[in-house]
């Protein structure tokens, strides 16, 4: 590759960056913090994806504060203060009982037009089992009880109160929760609770909203601790998890960036004794990062924060190019890259192969990270090969102890007994560690939720079980009618499990009976309590209604139209309407949600014999998906080794070149063994880390192999590269996010292993000569 071609490539990249910058200035850059977007899509099943999307949108933007105290007076005062402070937060829309009541009233008014077709299972049984005289008497007792309250519907329209009882079953608020003013209260044997819920208007993943909510939370905790020591505040909502995760990620970015920068500055000061090499190296990294950020943003339109965390560290690999160029100064003090160029090209190529393998990972965040790293490497590489030869490096001799440290691997490998001891130690390590390796594919490797939040969530779930967004049923049918009929049939099967495996079931058929069921309901009423002289007639006569009104009512019952899904969806509350998922590839689907799940197995067992029913467990699905991807990733790692081996064969045209693969291979084995001995289970992210170990190890091997007479300068550059990698990835290993920590630890161990094992695998001509 000639220098003019490289120059043109560099100019092309600059031009591309200008275009990207202009585009981004027009669009506005966007940083994404949503951890869920990193999760593998279970989108092979579009229905599950749609149901999950609906549940997450509906539930995910809600937040709930639960205050508890042994006495009601301080509870009410504290809850009043919490409510007032929440109402001052612009990102929140507080849901007061009056708002809920109004929505519920509108729903019942719309339903009233179909009241003679709507009955619950229990009502049908009750009508069938109860004598008409008893039905009349019970209704009379209701009407004459002083606390019966205002009539929702006229006895002329609903004489036996069947519709009133039907809509009570559709109440949005749990039965044990009572409204008092703007608060919802709940009493248990030992405590009183006040519940205040709100909707996060811009969404739970909006950074500004998260900051506002976290600030509110801090203020509430402080206020309650000071003024209401007997009142406990618990909270639930994705916004809290997302807010804490974003704050943690931002903190980690700052620590890693600062730690890496300080480490590199210290290293360069000791290694080169002047500021210019550092500035040049930082320039190459900065150029690489900027190129990667601009182009990735242009392609993906938004950059995930974790891409920046991972990607910025991966670009630390790019420091290799600068370091090797800096150690090859000519008589004028400028980089002479003529001898180094084949190694630089091959090093870039093998790194691109390694990172390119990550592109196949069907996890959106990792694809973005792989592209970011590849672009960053290309940018930094072009910066080094085009600009470095034209700049005076002004390096001074390195700090002697650092030079001595760079000779450690050769020192070990140079003594036969030490070499034997190393190989024996490696074999022992592999033997002891590999058989202890366990694999894990758990969703928790993506995000470890805050313990206090989980504890709050568990307490709130015990008090008010919420519908799970992760476990639900999907009912399939050839039409909406068939879906509803099947959902009705499912109720019978689930009844024995209620109170055992599951607390409550939110079934759309309980709120929108199938047309067949509605016809049966109407016929049951028409031929039963609403027949001429039946219970309804008797009661209406006793209440003073005239015969005309009574006759009109009977006619209404006989002719009332059924409620269709289309009409119901026009006025159904969102939490009910979302259950009808619509048509997918010619079939119709509905979701049935569950709350208070205590045992998954019997729930899953219900679905097994029914071809039209699927029990969805997205947590288990994702874990299973991760396991499969982990296995695939190991296979792809093998393929990457193979491709790099072919590239080496093409470059060196002899089988011995394949020995260059030994350093990363042995280092990877040692890394896995150490993880096994440490009891850390192998995850997908450890495997992704091994890709980087391969990339780094190949850089070291190729540069050492190509070093020729300048082996010592090369090993010095490799030591500096290892040290910077260990520094940045070592800091990643300290992350609280399991996947970042796994990745960082793997690369930390792997890069040290690469360095130590390098002379064992790669004997340069000079070494051989010696």
């Amino acid at each position: 590759m000639t220098s003019s071609v490289l120059r043109w490539l560099f100019y092309l990249l600059l031009a591309g960056l200008l275009v990207c910058t202009a585009r981004l200035l027009h669009q506005g850059p966007s940083i994404k913090y949503d951890l869920l977007s990193l999760l593998p899509q279970t989108g092979s099943n579009a229905v599950v994806a749609e149901a999950s999307r609906r549940f997450t949108t509906q539930d995910g933007n809600q937040l709930l504060y639960v205050l508890s105290a042994s006495e009601q007076a301080p509870l009410l005062s504290a809850a009043g203060e919490v409510l007032e402070r929440m109402q001052q937060v612009s990102a929140l829309e507080v849901e007061t009982p009056s708002r809920r009541a109004e929505a519920f009233l509108n729903y019942t008014h719309a339903l009233a037009a179909y009241r003679f077709t709507l009955l619950h299972d229990e009502q049908r049984r009750y009508l069938a089992e109860t004598k008409e005289r008893t039905l009349v008497l019970q209704r009379q007792r209701e009407l004459y009880r002083p606390g019966a309250g205002a009539l929702l519907t006229s006895p002329a329209e609903d004489p036996l109160g069947l519709f009133d009882r039907y809509v009570q079953g559709a109440a949005v608020m749990p039965e044990n929760v009572q409204a008092q003013g703007d608060l919802l209260l709940l009493e248990t044997a030992g405590a009183s609770y006040a519940l205040i819920s709100a909707r996060v208007i811009p969404g739970a993943f909006d950074l500004t909203a998260q900051q506002q909510v976290l600030a509110l939370d801090d203020a509430l905790n402080t206020a309650l601790e000071t003024d209401y020591p007997g009142v406990t505040l618990r909270k639930a909502g994705i916004v809290f998890h997302a807010g804490l995760a974003a704050a943690q990620a931002k903190k980690e970015v700052s620590i890693i960036a600062l730690g890496s920068a300080l480490g590199i500055i210290a290293l360069f000061s000791l290694a080169f004794g002047s500021g210019r090499p550092l500035l040049l190296t930082l320039g190459s990294i900065l150029f690489g990062c900027t190129s990667a950020a601009l182009i990735t943003l242009s392609i993906f339109r938004e950059l995930h924060l974790l891409t920046l965390v991972f990607g910025a560290s991966l670009i630390g690999v790019a420091v290799d190019y600068a370091l090797h160029a800096l150690t090859r100064a000519d008589a004028r003090g400028r980089s002479d890259l003529s001898a180094l160029m084949p190694g630089l090209v091959l090093a870039l190529l093998t790194s691109l192969i390694g990172f390119g393998s990550l592109l196949q990972a069907p996890v959106p965040g990792l694809q973005q990270m792989a592209l970011f790293s590849m672009l960053g490497l290309i940018g930094a590489w072009l910066f080094v090969v085009v600009l470095f030869p034209h700049v005076t490096i002004s390096a001074r001799p390195p700090w002697p102890p650092l030079q001595k440290f760079a000779r450690v691997p050769d020192g070990l490998a140079g003594r036969s007994h030490a070499r034997t001891a190393m190989l024996a130690a490696l074999a022992l390590l592999a033997g002891a560690g590999l058989w202890q390796v366990q694999t894990v594919s758990d969703l928790r490797i993506f995000h470890q939720a805050d313990d206090a939040l989980l504890e709050d969530q568990a307490s709130i779930d015990a008090l008010l079980p919420s519908h799970s967004a992760n476990q639900f049923y999907l009912v399939r049918g050839a039409s909406v009618e068939q879906v509803l009929q099947r959902a009705e049939a499912l109720n019978t099967k689930l009844r024995p499990l209620r109170g055992e495996a599951v607390n409550t079931v939110l079934n759309p058929a309980d709120h929108l009976p199938s047309l067949r069921q509605q016809r049966e309901n109407r016929d049951l009423l028409s031929a039963g309590v609403y027949r001429q002289g039946g219970a309804a007639d008797q009661l209406l006569q006793q209440l003073g209604f005239d015969n005309t009104a009574i006759k009109e009512l009977r006619e209404q019952v006989a002719t009332q139209p059924a409620l269709t899904a289309e009409n119901w969806l026009r006025f159904a509350p969102p939490q009910l309407g979302q259950l009808l998922l619509g048509e997918f590839n010619g079939s119709y689907y509905a979701a049935i949600r569950l709350s208070g799940i205590s045992d998954i197995e019997p729930l899953a067992a219900v679905a097994r014999p029914l071809p039209w029913l699927e029990f969805v467990d997205t947590v288990a699905d994702i874990s299973s998906d991760l396991q499969q991807r982990q296995n695939n990733a190991l296979v792809q790692l093998g393929i990457a080794y193979l491709l790099i081996g072919l590239a080496l064969g093409a470059r060196y045209r002899r089988a011995r070149a394949l020995l260059l693969l030994c350093a990363p291979l042995l280092s990877s084995v040692a890394t896995i063994a150490v993880l096994g001995l440490a009891g850390q289970p192998l995850t997908l992210f450890h495997v992704f880390g091994l890709f980087l170990v391969l990339g780094l190890g190949m850089d070291y091997s190729i540069f050492r192999h190509e070093a020729g007479p300048q082996r010592e300068e090369c090993m010095f550059a490799i030591m500096l590269s290892m040290a910077t990698s260990a520094l940045s990835f070592g800091l990643l290993a300290l992350s609280d996010t399991p996947m970042i920590s796994a990745f960082g630890l793997t690369v930390l161990l792997g890069s040290i292993g690469n360095w130590l094992l390098l002379p064992l695998a790669v004997t340069t001509p000079s070494t051989s000569n010696q």
């Binding site: 004459y144 009880r145 309250g149 205002a150 329209e157 003073g544």
Partner: protein, 229 residues
């Protein structure tokens, strides 16, 4: 019994103007101030001793959706801080127990008791217990109070819910009486009304362990605690 209602009257009027140094705004205020000042002295002492009020009621529910009012009769026992036993005897028989914590329905004696969890029953229970026991603090947090008095000494107190679930269900609660509360009228926000008229009120009713269990459905142990001075 002629004691309970004057007590209520005194308590109702006291927070409104009786303790105020401001001169009354109109003539009726002036006349009521005189009445209250006199009544308070008598009633306050009696009230301390009157834990129970019993009597008969006539109930009438009107609703735009009904062709005629639903009228019923019966008797009641109010036991301060413990609840109200409400027994309808005509046109049907049923008993309802409004306790501070729960509401119970008995169609056929204590064995048939079942807890009522309807919101309208809860609202009625809160209003009835607060009004009959005249929990001043509670009433002030829930209602805006307005009173009127006629020259013949009859008085009327209007309670308008301030906010929340009461305001959504109830438009006004009106109490009327002379030396007793003679009627309570609760107008709901949907145009209906519940009228309760009281007569033959007395305070000679004694709560025994048996009546405590039978009428108010407390357990024997609870009754023992409640009846122990």
């Amino acid at each position: 019994m002629r004691l309970g209602i004057p007590c209520l009257l005194a308590l109702i009027l006291t927070p409104l103007y009786g303790l105020s140094d401001e001169p009354p705004a109109n003539a009726s205020h002036k006349s009521l101030t005189t009445v209250t000042a006199e009544t308070r002295e008598i009633v306050a002492a009696r009230l301390r001793n009157q834990a129970v009020i019993a009597g008969e009621f006539r109930q009438s529910r009107t609703d735009a959706k009904l062709p005629r009012p639903l009228e019923s009769n019966g008797h009641f026992v109010f036991w301060r801080d413990q609840g109200v036993h409400w027994a309808t005897t005509s046109p049907l028989t049923q008993q309802t127990v409004y306790r501070p914590d729960t509401t119970w329905q008995m169609d056929d004696g204590p064995a048939s008791a079942r807890e009522l969890r309807s919101r309208s029953d809860d609202i009625f229970r809160d209003v009835l217990l607060n009004v009959l026991s005249f929990d001043e603090a509670q009433l002030a947090t829930e209602f805006e109070s307005r009173w009127q008095v006629s020259d013949n000494g009859n008085w009327q107190l209007s309670l308008v819910p301030l906010r929340g679930h009461l305001a959504r269900a109830i438009q006004t609660v009106e109490l009327r009486g002379d030396e007793n509360i003679n009627r309570i009228e609760i107008a709901d926000t949907r145009g209906g009304a519940l009228l309760l008229e009281f007569h033959a009120q007395h305070s000679e009713f004694t709560i025994t362990a048996e009546t405590c269990e039978q009428l108010f459905l407390y357990s024997a142990q609870q009754c023992q605690t409640k009846l122990t001075p």
